[in-house]
């Protein structure tokens, strides 16, 4: 098997905690922090740590604002984040395809 696609996998996305976050954000224009926490059944701290990593990589934009006088934190994929996720999914599909050809 050609190991090339595996080596190209983005290590920022290819992590048990961050892949689900990227998947959720890829399916929605933006999501509230609390919605993501509930959907993924993560703790606040765990989600914050992963979001910070994705934010530092430039993949996720975090916005803080007020809604009905309550603080609301929302997250969205940035264009580079969307592109990186698309590449990641394509590489996974390549790996699966190669395995089926063997």
């Amino acid at each position: 098997m050609n190991p090339e696609p595996f080596l190209q996998l983005d290590r920022v996305i290819h992590e048990k905690g961050r892949l689900p976050i990227m998947s959720l954000l890829a399916a929605n224009p933006e999501l509230a922090f609390t919605e993501m926490r509930d959907l993924l059944k993560m703790t606040d701290g765990n989600l914050s740590v992963h979001l910070r990593t994705l934010q530092e990589a430039g993949y996720v934009a975090v916005t803080k604002r007020f809604q009905n006088r309550r603080p609301l934190t929302t997250c969205a994929l940035t264009p580079p984040g969307r592109e990186a996720f698309r590449r990641y999914v394509d590489l996974l599909a390549d790996i699966v395809r190669q395995a089926r050809e063997i």
Binding site: L19, P20, P29, L39, L77, L92, V96, R100
Partner: protein, 214 residues
């Protein structure tokens, strides 16, 4: 081992994306179309004095069919433009959630049509009361459908559902208390299916964000 985890990861991605994807397609144009139709239909129904039981029901059923056809056309057009399937997983979830209330409304309407409008066995079953109760039940059941479908749609839909339930419930109580008046049916329909839809459509038009291209 590699292909196993790769396939598993792809499955995780697909499942999460499907589960979290919210139905957003053509919501603003759909609600504006329904609202415009509802408002015009209420005014026309009132002007044409379609107050007799059977014409009232058949008239509003016709309006509902036209609105549903128009909504399906708008959804299909947007799906074609976006290169997506019409019957997407979020659309299926929304339809499944709204189906019980829609089925109840259909069965209820059929029963009233067969009973000849008069409230079967109910107290004060005169035309005026029934004329208000019929749309009140429609409005409440529509609110229930919206509220159920709202779990898979933007949050505002559930609020809209509750407004319909409250409005229909208020009309129901008013009718039961003998506060109704004969011409209220069309106005009640116009207020809810017309103006409420128009207001929500305008809200969406100015606040909706475009969906992701993935």
């Amino acid at each position: 081992m590699q292909p196993d985890w790769a396939a598993e990861n792809l499955q995780v991605i697909r499942t999460l994306m499907e589960r979290s994807a919210i139905y957003r397609r053509a919501l603003a144009p759909m609600t504006l179309l329904a609202g415009g139709l509802g408002t015009v239909a209420a005014v026309a129904g009132q002007a044409l004095r379609l107050d007799a039981p059977r014409p009232f029901i058949l008239y509003w059923l016709g309006v509902a069919v036209v609105a549903a056809g128009g909504a399906a056309f708008l959804v299909r057009r947007q799906a074609l433009r976006a290169g997506e399937t019409f019957w997407s997983p979020p659309a299926r979830r929304v339809a499944r959630a709204a189906l019980p209330a829609a089925a109840a409304a259909a069965i209820f309407t059929l029963g009233v049509l067969l009973a000849g409008w008069r409230w079967p066995g109910g107290p004060g079953a005169d035309d005026t009361t029934a004329r208000l109760m019929m749309p009140a039940v429609w409005i409440m059941l529509y609110g229930l459908a919206l509220s159920a479908a709202g779990f898979f749609m933007p949050r505002g839909i559930q609020w809209l559902g509750w407004i319909f339930i409250a409005g229909g419930g208020g009309a129901w109580v008013a009718a039961g208390s003998g506060l109704g008046f004969a011409a209220a049916g069309h106005w009640l329909m116009g207020l809810h299916f017309g103006l409420l839809h128009l207001a929500y459509g305008c809200y969406l038009l100015f606040t909706e964000k475009p969906g992701p291209p993935l």
